[in-house]
């Protein structure tokens, strides 16, 4: 079943700037879909329309079968939103801000439960203005989870978090996914998408330039073999890069190229020191896409 369906979404700002140009994607129930892209690629502009904060200039959006802008009252009780920058009155305490939010919801979790999910229990009586950036992000996540959402929107949820909090947040998101929650994530951290997302789309200048599972996106980009070449012997493969004594070979068929290289080394009894072979990472694919599109 499809939880989110986006078709030909275009968003234009009042100045005429087209931030999103004909974006289409589907998010299935219970999966995590990640939107990646450079700054200004249009991720947040896209997500805000899917959340129902504004109307698309063209195209259609459906969340749980409803138009999130026109049928806001039907959609909101079933979704949780974590904006890129959360807004809390600075003079409220963590508990007060959470209670306020709970009071606006149809069937909220207990406030203590929400705060303990994000490890903020010990900060419950602290004013929001005294929280660190990472703690504020976690409070924002707690509010997004407060209404037990079926669909969760996370706009850069781990920005400003220390590595431990980031891991904890990932574990929490994984647990939610196991419970069947659908997640639409935007992130700058490619390893975050690689670790959590079932499928992803890479945006560049308002368009989706690659879409699929992590391996589908990555497989389109060449794998890489690098080593320190033995002196004085011609290599059996085409070297694509050479830097500080190491050579790098890029190939679309890692297994075949590696086999040729290793057989050659065996037959000629040469050592390929520091040998390293790997498929393209999401980061490499991402950088290549950004470069191609530029």
């Amino acid at each position: 079943m499809t939880a989110i369906e986006v078709r030909g979404l275009t968003r234009r700002y009042s100045g005429g700037f087209e931030a999103v140009r004909g974006v289409s994607f589907d998010v299935e129930r219970g999966e995590m879909f990640a939107l990646l892209g450079t700054n200004g690629a249009g991720k947040t502009s896209t997500v805000e329309v899917v959340e129902g904060l504004s109307r698309p200039a063209a195209g259609t959006v459906s969340v749980l079968g409803h138009d999130p802008f026109r049928e806001r009252a039907l959609v909101r009780p079933r979704v949780g939103v974590m904006l890129q920058e959360g807004g809390f009155p600075p003079d409220l305490t963590v508990t007060e801000a959470t209670k306020m939010w709970a009071g606006t919801l149809t069937s909220p979790r207990p406030v203590d439960e929400a705060l303990s999910l994000v490890d903020l229990t010990h900060r419950a009586s602290v004013r929001v203005k005294q929280l660190s950036g990472g703690e504020r992000r976690r409070l924002d996540l707690a509010l997004a989870l407060l209404g037990r959402p079926e669909v969760l929107f996370l706009d850069e949820p781990t920005t400003g978090l220390d590595p431990e909090s980031r891991r904890n947040t990932w574990e929490l998101i994984r647990a939610l996914l196991r419970e069947g929650v659908t997640v639409l994530l935007t992130t700058h951290y490619l390893e975050e998408a690689q670790a959590l997302a079932d499928r992803l789309a890479i945006m560049h200048r308002g368009r989706i330039v690659a879409q699929g599972t992590v391996s589908e996106v990555v497989d389109a980009y060449p794998a890489r073999i690098s080593f320190v070449p033995p002196a004085g012997v011609p290599l059996p493969v085409v070297v694509t890069e050479e830097a500080s004594g190491r050579v790098t070979v890029r190939t679309n068929d890692l297994q075949q190229t590696l086999h040729e290289l290793l057989s050659w080394a065996h037959v000629n009894s040469v050592e390929l020191s520091g040998l390293d072979a790997r498929s393209a990472s999401l980061e490499e694919a991402f950088l290549a896409i950004a470069e191609e599109a530029a």
Partner: protein, 235 residues
């Protein structure tokens, strides 16, 4: 009612905000001598104080509240929740309105007892005037906030409404001393019909015209809010 949750949070913030406390609680009380100098009788004093409470505790206080919550991204956050847009505005307005109503009742009772004002003969006009005044100034505050970049700028952007109403609505200077033409124009200000209706609670006076002017302001205010109110910071 879901908006009450926002109202309760706003009330906490109100008690923690010294400027807001001063502007809404102390300022109207400090004006008593000035108002008494204009007209020391009980009814004009009650009417004038109510006008100031509407301007300071409701209008000015809410301009700063709406701007502060918008710039803190609180309004944007509330908009991704379950509340409707009118519920968000209502919730944010509740404490200011509640504080204003308490002040009006206190002033009326205190001034009334001290000066021996009679019980209003037509109390419903009084109530309609106050209720309409609250609605108009909440709407005008929301509309003014759209043209206000920062909380500090609210001191400037709220001036046109404040000055026009203080000088032109018969609070400090009775409209009866103005030339007829000027007085008829001043009767179109948003505060004038509120005060006229309040006076009509105690004494016979025209009510149809103030009712119409008040209704027109509510219409204009609603239109302005729908057209211009900003939920996102101005960047």
């Amino acid at each position: 009612m879901r908006a009450v949750a926002v109202g309760q949070a706003e009330l906490k913030l109100f008690w923690r905000n010294r400027t807001a406390l001063f502007n809404s609680l102390l300022l109207p009380a400090l004006l008593v001598p000035a108002l008494m100098a204009a007209d020391g009788d009980g009814v004009p004093l009650i009417v004038g104080l109510t006008g100031f409470v509407l301007l300071m505790a409701v209008y000015y206080n809410l301009v700063t509240t709406f701007v502060a919550r918008r710039e803190e991204l609180v309004l944007k956050r509330l908009r991704v929740g379950e509340l409707t847009d009118p519920e968000i505005l209502l919730g944010a307005s509740l404490p200011s309105v509640a504080v204003a109503l308490v002040q009006m009742v206190l002033f009326t009772v205190i001034v009334g007892v001290i000066t021996g004002v009679a019980v209003p003969s037509r109390p419903w006009f009084l109530l309609v005037g106050v209720a309409g005044g609250v609605v108009v100034f909440v709407l005008l505050a929301a509309a003014s906030s759209a043209f206000t970049r920062t909380v500090e700028m609210a001191q400037v952007t709220s001036l046109p409404v404040l000055v026009a109403c203080v000088l032109g609505s018969g609070v400090m200077i009775p409209l009866s001393v103005m030339p007829d033409g000027v007085a008829s124009v001043l009767r179109l200000l948003p505060l004038t019909p509120v005060l006229d209706l309040m006076r009509a609670g105690w004494a016979d006076g025209p009510v149809l015209r103030p009712l119409i002017v008040l209704a027109v302001w509510i219409g204009l205010g609603t239109y302005a809010v729908r057209r211009w109110f900003r939920w996102d910071p101005r960047r």
